[in-house]
Symmetry: C2
DNA sequence: TCGGATTACGTGCACCGTAATGATC
DNA sequence: GATCATTACGGTGCACGTAATCCGA
């Protein structure tokens, strides 16, 4: 059995070209390295070096040996990282969804059921959802449609209705409901995390100008500082519903979305509890 | 860096199932192995075993680790054998030919030019010759035809004429030459090492009965003990030409063969000297 | 004379073995 | 009581460092 320290020293010598440079790189002394090279050679039983009195270099055999030594070291170096990757994978639930609110709900549920698991989340656009599961990019995906893919499981997860929050004094505030058409040409605040809603609004509201904010703080500031209407939803938590504002449901059918929870059939057994609970 | 002894111990434990059995297999003590398993676990930083007070077994992480450990050990165990194989390959000339005599001549030449090289020889049938070179099964091949394969080099090597050795007193001994037809229906001794000649004789001599001998000693005994004719050739060394026998050339064109020496174009540079010398 | 390789010799550490303890069937 | 795993402690082999030598540019 060739010990790893010998392989590393051989490779270091191959990379450095001289014993002294290699010894320097390895943080050992020249004599130690010299002896190691002799040890290696005696273990192989054939010459690996071409030596003169003050020079040593790899011969053809030595170069071949270095090739295989590199492979062996590589295989060795992979053991721990690959095992750790497996471990982490076993302790991580990878969640993707098209709505931050829906993702947030799912996170709460996962934390309840699997308090020791690490959760990772990604906000994605809808069309790729089934592929993301089949590629094993994610474990749980929240989509806006069920799937008929036999490899996947899907179940209704949440319903969300889009709403509009407007200052109490404005004309719109008097309506019990509004429709998309009523909002034509308006400037309306929205949060990027709303995901699919952004596209739906752009499609449904003529000439709308959506003021999409990437982060929630900016949005809150703008809501407070302006009289602009802002999109809200039936899933928005109560604390988001500001004073001095009224929240009006949007009556259109397109303002209602059903989210579905999807996972692969093979992964389903890990998430049976979640699927049973929703 | 995971030392190989740890990997071997881990794998041995995976194979044996208990520390005591594994320790026995490894010829170390149980406490030593127990400590090694703890060492490994601490190097990984995650649990690899499921332990009760008097039992220890691999968990999912441990099983993955064992997989990668096996790979790493395999890669390590390949280093020396693969390098030795390369070394031997570099110091071996692999010869194949369709005639023991021609091979013998080539061996003499190789020994002169490359006295330190190991020579291996195989007696082969003709048709496969070019393929044997292209498959890298052999370095030098003696065939009965040149080749027009652009990947190969061929050069005339030796000419051989088939002869017949008969006891001095017999009727055939009076002829200066004989033809295959004269030998119709006869019992004639031959040596298996004659290779292609066997087939030629069977094709050319009507109803011939060839008494083919595998080894040279048997043939010599039969030649001495009988008055049977025996095939000889222009390449046969003089000591084979027995007293009390005369050797008669066979006049047919088919009784003359030209041998060609072949090698691959890539290998040619190693054998330039030989090709130049013939 | 300097840089690079080898030889000689002393040392520290890490792995192993022996002995003892704990725990389960 | 037998088997299996773990803890404690002492010993030893071996790879490394220091020092010295040899050789070539």
């Amino acid at each position: 059995m060739l010990e790893n320290y010998l392989l590393e020293q051989l490779v270091a010598f191959a990379d450095a070209g001289t014993l002294s440079k290699a010894a320097q790189a390895l943080h050992i002394t020249q004599p130690a390295l010299s002896k190691s090279m002799h040890r290696i050679e005696s273990l192989f039983g054939i010459p690996l070096f071409h030596r003169t009195h003050s020079h040593i270099e790899l011969n053809a055999n030595g170069k071949i040996a270095v090739q295989y030594a590199r492979r062996a070291l590589k295989a060795n170096h992979e053991i721990i990282p690959e095992t750790l990757a497996f471990y982490r994978r076993q302790h991580t639930i990878r969640i993707a969804g098209c709505s931050t609110i829906a993702i947030h709900h799912l996170i709460q549920i996962c934390q309840d059921y699997y308090p020791t698991m690490t959760l990772t989340t990604s906000l994605i656009s809808y069309p790729a959802a089934p592929a993301l599961l089949q590629n094993d990019d994610y474990d749980l995906v929240i989509a806006t449609r069920a799937t008929n893919d036999p490899q996947l499981i899907s179940k209704p997860f949440l319903d969300e209705r889009l709403m509009l929050s407007v200052p109490a004094g404005t004309p719109l505030a008097k309506h019990k409901k509004v429709s998309f058409r009523d909002l034509a040409g308006m400037n309306i605040l929205a949060h990027a995390g709303s995901g699919v809603w952004i596209n739906i609004c752009r499609q449904q509201i003529p000439k709308v100008n959506l003021l999409v904010q990437e982060n929630m703080q900016s949005l809150d500031q703008l809501v407070k500082a302006s009289a602009l209407p802002v999109f809200s939803s039936s899933l928005t938590t109560v604390d988001k519903q500001m004073a001095d504002r009224v929240t009006i449901p949007i009556r259109d059918g397109a303002a209602q979305i059903s989210y579905y929870l999807l996972c692969t059939r093979t992964n389903y057994r890990n998430f049976k509890d979640i699927f049973a609970g929703i």
